[in-house]
């Protein structure tokens, strides 16, 4: 659990944080959402003490982060940034092994961990282990950046717009990877983003910030349905409120048993969202879609009218 208590921080005349109170529950995937200059990066960097607060404090599992020496604290916390910041003079393996090396792991254990992480991030170890950062695409480099942050198995992962510099296709692939990683490991993730779609696709909790303050914190659904502030409503609505709502609802929760389903309905996979169902119907010019189960067998029907219950 990460807790911000009345945190204030100024840079000269610029007030970056103006009394931030926020709790990130254990195991959450929390996204700090807001426009540029809202104070999101400042908040993130307070957690691993890259920035010290002027007032207030930050607690990790109830313990003030200031109580521990900064380097030791940081080695327990994964850190991923938009610029990635791979060390250009080190191979991929050496980059990933950086924190384990600082922690004094022996070489064999580091090598095994590097293999494991490359496989986890879907990079073939034999092909990528010995490459230099200059020989990687942007997406591959950020996969290595994420692997490096996970190397010493931290409980907490801090990410500052990690996919901001990637093209849309690569970004979506890495978002899917990260969602899967969060589901598989249960790590607490605190991520900064200015992209509502990204927040909705990933977050279990969203904290909307503006001008150094928290506007609202809640589940994605809460923020969509009951915004507490006009700025939150404008941000979450964005002219696509209905579609965003659909994207949060699993199609399976709207499906009925497929009694006498007509022939030729479009099919959607088990994990599809209600938005995927609508897309399939619109594409096929049909008024219903056939939901498959995990084995590909028809498991139910989602009708156009059912989407109104989302």
């Amino acid at each position: 659990m990460i807790r911000f208590e009345g945190v204030e921080k100024s840079f000269g005349a610029a007030r970056a944080l103006d009394g931030l109170d926020l709790v990130v529950p254990e195991g959450a995937f929390a996204v700090l959402l807001g426009g540029s200059g809202a104070g999101k990066s400042t908040a993130l960097r307070l957690v691993n003490r890259l920035i010290e607060p002027d007032a207030g404090r930050v607690l990790l599992r109830g313990r003030d982060v200031a109580a521990e020496a900064a380097p030791a604290l940081r080695r327990r916390i994964g850190y991923v940034i938009q610029g990635i910041g791979l060390f250009p003079h080190w191979s991929v393996a050496r980059n990933i092994g950086a924190v384990p090396r600082l922690l004094g792991w022996d070489d064999r254990r580091i090598a095994a961990r590097v293999e494991e992480l490359l496989a986890l991030l879907r990079l073939d170890p034999a092909e990528y282990r010995d490459r230099m950062p200059a020989e990687l695409s942007g997406g591959q480099a950020q996969r290595v950046g994420v692997a490096r942050a996970l190397a010493a198995d931290p409980d907490i992962l801090l990410m500052d717009e990690p996919f901001g510099a990637l093209d849309a296709v690569t970004r979506q692939a890495l978002q899917a990877e990260l969602r899967h990683l969060h589901a598989a490991t249960g790590k607490t993730i605190l991520m900064v983003s200015h992209d509502v779609e990204e927040a909705l696709a990933l977050a279990t909790r969203i904290a909307v910030m503006a001008e150094g303050r928290l506007l609202q914190e809640g589940s994605p659904r809460e923020l969509l349905d009951s915004p507490a502030d006009p700025r939150v409503r404008d941000l979450m609505d964005g002219g696509a409120l209905g579609m965003r709502r659909l994207s949060l609802v699993p199609a399976a929760s709207l499906a009925r048993p497929d009694g006498a389903a007509p022939e030729g309905l479009p099919r959607i996979p088990a994990g599809a969202t209600a938005r995927d169902a609508l897309e399939a119907m619109l594409a096929a010019r049909a008024d219903a879609a056939l939901l498959e189960d995990a084995t590909g067998v028809p498991a139910g029907v989602v009708a156009l009218a059912d989407l109104l219950r989302a």
């Binding site: 691993n48 890259l50 380097p71 940081r74 080695r75 610029g83 910041g85 791979l86 060390f87």
Partner: protein, 353 residues
């Protein structure tokens, strides 16, 4: 002096021009011309090799011409004149361009230069160049040349080594305190504005006073005239390239990599040793290269305030209107600077990889 070369019966009498057609050395010059012509049709390394061969042939041709025209005289000498100089310069340039076209790196260029130096040494050892004026002069002044080389290297090192230590410290201070950087770098840059000869002259009086005041210093040889003002003056000039390169080197690592290192738990010392220094080393070495080449060049002027080195030969030659003697001082300085430059460039390239 026009012509291909000039012939003098000894080093005092003014020489007379020798045309290419007078030269009885076509055994050397024809193959050299053929090689030069071949270089025009070859590409890359082969062309560079052909240029080198042509240059060696040209030198040997000069030597052979000298031997033929001097008859039995042991003091007559043949000097290169406009024709030979232009030919040599054109061949050097062609070789360098060919190496560039071949994509040769600093290491390959250093190897090529070493190969040419070896060929030159072989020509000398075989006595083929004995009648070339410069070689005559060098042989006559063997001990002087050796003393000048030792003094030149000693003076250069005496200025360079402290400049590396103190310049690096100043550069590091400028990096660590950006507020102080303009004062530090600006102060060192202001020194560069003073002409070297003026700076050396200005330093004579303080060193003389110091030597009068502290007998111990006087006993170890520190005087107003001599090595002290030259070494100290050159040292002052070298501070800027070293300090500026150190500052740039410390800032050369990408900002994201430095932020990542800090955020992942590198201590400041670990970030310095494992990230900043390795990534900045080529930049620092570039500053060392600039400073070394400058040191070798500036020390030459030290002869004017009584320091030794090749400057002594150069200024003697200027005083006596003896071009061979001037060259005997100037060519080794140029060669030293080129060798240092090539060696440090090769090291930089190795580091950057």
């Amino acid at each position: 002096m026009a012509g291909f070369a000039v012939l003098a019966p000894n080093r005092i009498v003014p020489p007379r021009a020798v045309a290419l057609m007078d030269a009885d050395a076509f055994a050397w010059l024809l193959p050299a011309a053929a090689a030069a012509l071949g270089a025009a049709f070859l590409s890359g390394r082969a062309a560079a090799l052909a240029c080198g061969a042509a240059l060696a042939g040209l030198l040997a041709g000069l030597g052979a011409t000298g031997a033929a025209l001097a008859g039995g005289s042991t003091v007559a000498r043949l000097g290169p004149a406009a024709g030979a100089w232009v030919a040599a310069a054109a061949l050097l340039l062609a070789a360098r361009l060919a190496l560039g076209r071949a994509g040769a790196g600093a290491v390959a260029r250093a190897l090529a230069a070493a190969g040419f130096a070896a060929a030159l040494a072989a020509l000398l050892a075989a006595g083929l160049l004995d009648h070339v004026s410069l070689v005559r002069e060098a042989v006559a002044r063997g001990p002087e040349v050796r003393a000048a080389l030792a003094a030149h290297l000693g003076l250069s090192a005496a200025a360079l080594l402290p400049a590396l230590a103190i310049g690096a410290a100043l550069g590091a201070a400028a990096f660590a305190r950006p507020g102080a950087a303009p004062a530090i770098i600006g102060g060192l840059a202001a020194l560069q504005v003073i002409p070297a000869i003026a700076l050396f002259a200005l330093l004579i009086e303080p060193f003389a006073a110091l030597s009068r005041a502290v007998p111990l210093l006087r006993e170890v040889g520190l005087r107003g005239i001599g090595a002290a003002p030259a070494v100290f003056g050159v040292f002052l000039y070298l501070l800027l390239p070293v300090a500026a390169a150190t500052r740039a080197a410390l800032g050369a690592a990408p900002a994201a990599a430095v932020d990542a290192a800090r955020g992942m738990g590198f201590t400041p010392a670990q970030a310095l040793l494992r990230v900043r220094l390795p990534l900045g080393a080529p930049v620092f070495l570039g500053g060392v290269r600039t400073a070394s080449v400058q040191a070798v060049g500036l020390v030459t002027l030290g002869a004017l305030v009584g320091a030794g080195g090749f400057g002594v030969l150069m200024f003697q030659g200027l005083g006596q209107f003896a071009p061979d003697l001037i060259l005997l001082g100037a060519l080794p300085v140029a060669a030293l600077a080129l060798v240092l430059d090539a060696a440090l460039r090769a090291a930089e390239e190795g580091l950057a990889r």
